[in-house]
């Protein structure tokens, strides 16, 4: 048994994703209590830049490099990781609650007959390295605190922004390049194309700041004022189910029960009444601002700051005010 804390590294275009740095920062925090080593599992092909990015964040980097590991498929990742997980039996194995983590971890846990808690919003360990995971149920109406039986690894996928990134962990990882044999016939599905959404913005699940408008925006063309505010804040733009069902915005921007759960540091809701479908998706955001013309709108029950007012007046003024202040700070 290796008794290590492992983190599955995610990367895109050579760059390691924020969620991975967050998980490694959390892992290093745990290791202070448990004395365990923290390792990043880096899979793909052409990994020099990503390896470099990870060096200050872990004790070890297990490097699995193979053309069939790029782009990601659960088939290839599973084939590469299973023997390693069986051999090393890490104490903890963490991944992001992302399109990769949520896709891969159920298969691994099923095969390894070990515990797996998906989509966690809080994790802690005791001195013996026993993990306690907290996760939302029923869309966030209730949370469950969960512990693991004796099987290892204890597996969890974790939402964006659950841990803060620590830039100065004082680590300089040892890079261990592992031999890897992949049988091409074990890889059944093939990615033929990855279509990127237009624009520069990151996904609403990954964004630090999300600004959103609901039906109060009155029409798709009016989203431009929300976009302008987003530009100033370097934010992503979200919306409600009602707006998506109207066809005003793409489904990928939908926050809430049938859409995405977000954990932004700052969430600003404009012209959103606060239907249960929507507010369930914002429960783990740190600071919430609501602006709506209806003083009785439910959204105010979930907000930290509220303004009863017209978004068409407030949003442009807010954009200007922020522009002024941020410009003065250079």
């Amino acid at each position: 048994m290796s008794n290590e804390i492992w983190v599955l590294a995610e990367h895109q275009d050579g760059k390691v994703k924020g969620i991975t740095f967050e998980l490694l920062s959390g892992g290093v925090e745990f290791s202070k209590k448990t004395g365990q080593k923290v390792a990043a599992l880096l899979l793909g092909y052409g990994l020099e830049e990503a390896t470099k990015g990870l060096l200050p964040f872990a004790d070890k980097i297990y490097l699995l490099e193979h053309p069939l590991l790029s782009p990601y498929t659960s088939d290839a990742y599973e084939s590469a990781l299973l023997p390693l997980l069986k051999d090393h039996q890490p104490s903890i194995f963490l991944g992001g609650a992302t399109s990769i983590g949520k896709d891969l971890f159920p298969r691994l846990a099923m095969r390894l007959e070990t515990g797996y808690t998906p989509d966690c919003t809080e994790l802690s360990v005791d001195e013996e390295g026993r993990l306690t995971a907290k996760r939302p149920l029923f869309g966030g109406k209730v949370f469950a605190e969960m512990v693991f039986s004796g099987a290892r690894p204890q597996m969890a996928t974790v939402r964006n922004h659950t841990f803060l990134i620590h830039e100065n962990l004082g680590k300089s990882a040892e890079v261990l390049s592992l031999p890897i044999q992949l049988d091409p016939s074990s890889i059944k599905k093939k990615v033929i194309k990855v279509e990127k959404s237009p624009g520069e913005r990151v996904d609403i699940t990954e964004a630090d700041i999300v600004v959103a408008a609901g039906r109060g925006i009155k029409g798709p063309e009016n989203f431009k004022i929300i976009e302008e505010l987003a530009n100033v804040l370097n934010a992503s733009v979200g919306t409600t189910r009602a707006v998506v069902d109207e066809g005003w915005r793409d489904l990928k921007d939908q926050i809430g029960k049938s859409g995405k759960n977000i954990s932004a540091r700052l969430y600003m809701a404009f012209g959103i009444s606060g239907a249960i479908h929507h507010v369930l998706g914002i429960g783990t955001c740190k600071t919430i601002v609501a602006v709506d013309t209806d003083p009785n709108a439910l959204i105010f029950n979930y907000a930290d700051y509220g303004i009863v007012g017209d978004l068409f007046q407030i949003v442009p003024a807010l954009t200007e005010e922020l522009k002024k202040i941020l410009a003065s700070e250079g």
Binding site: F138, V147, V191, I276
Partner: protein, 260 residues
């Protein structure tokens, strides 16, 4: 095409969920067929309409069969419930093992499931079932095109800020996401018929599964405590006139919340 669809009746998003004891919840008796499962049923029916074949809806819920009836009323041909008192308290992996035991010697081209069930929101059962059956899976699909002669499917799945296009050989398991289709509303006449439709019931013995492989003895990650959502401090309403309210908001976000 032979298609199985995994379905489940889950609490309606409006239903209240109360914490009764540390490890017990009280859920208001307001259930509906899991939103994503209806999308899976719809997709199966469309494939059947195109290629012929049969759609079977399948649940491992020992208590509720309404999702099966919903499937029948929409047009599914057959409904199967795996019902056994030992299933009570099972985790998603145990449910996947049970489903695998039933499906392992059945002929099928495709298994469809919802992206996740709107109760524990785990998103495990479908993918774990694919693992148990040694099938490829694609998670959270928003596009599907079957090429019956090549025995493969072109699938689009949702990823962060984009879409992934894949080719996947059949048989396979796909979990369905909003955007794939709009489920049909069944005719009242068909709803009436579905109320009387025969549901085939199976127990664990008939599937050759030991009771120790399911229920609480098989759980690897267990709930020790239910907790209410983290409480927010009461909202601070900014009551000044425009544009002072905007300035105050910016100040509070910078100095109080420190998020900008």
């Amino acid at each position: 095409m032979e298609i199985f669809v995994l379905v489940k009746q889950v609490p309606d998003p409006e239903a209240t969920v109360k914490i009764k004891t540390d490890t017990e919840l009280e859920i208001e008796n307001k259930y509906f067929t899991n939103f994503f499962d209806e999308i899976a049923i719809e997709e199966a029916l469309r494939l059947k309409e195109k290629f012929g074949g049969k759609v079977t809806v399948l649940t491992a819920d020992p208590k509720r069969v309404d999702a099966l009836r919903r499937g029948i009323s929409m047009g599914a041909d057959e409904a199967i419930q795996i019902a056994d008192p030992a299933l009570e308290g099972s985790d998603p992996f145990a449910i996947a093992r049970v489903l695998a035991a039933y499906l392992k010697d059945k002929p099928f081209d495709l298994i469809l499931a919802g992206r996740q069930a709107m109760d524990d929101d785990s998103g495990i059962v479908g993918i774990a079932l694919a693992e148990a059956l040694n099938l490829p899976h694609v998670h959270s699909i928003i596009g599907l095109e079957v090429d019956i002669s090549r025995k493969e499917a072109k699938v689009i799945r949702e990823v962060e800020n984009g879409k992934e296009h894949l080719i996947c050989p059949l048989p396979a398991l796909f979990t369905c996401q909003k955007g794939l289709n709009t489920p049909r509303i069944p005719l009242v006449m068909n709803v009436m018929k579905a109320m009387k439709a025969q549901i085939k019931k199976l127990d664990l013995v008939s599937l050759g599964i030991e009771a120790s492989k399911v229920g609480s003895p098989a759980i690897q990650a267990k709930v020790i405590r239910y907790l209410p959502p983290p409480k927010r401090p009461p909202v601070k309403m900014i009551k000044e006139e425009f544009p002072d309210n905007v300035r105050t908001l910016v100040r509070l976000l910078r100095e109080d919340a420190k998020v900008i």
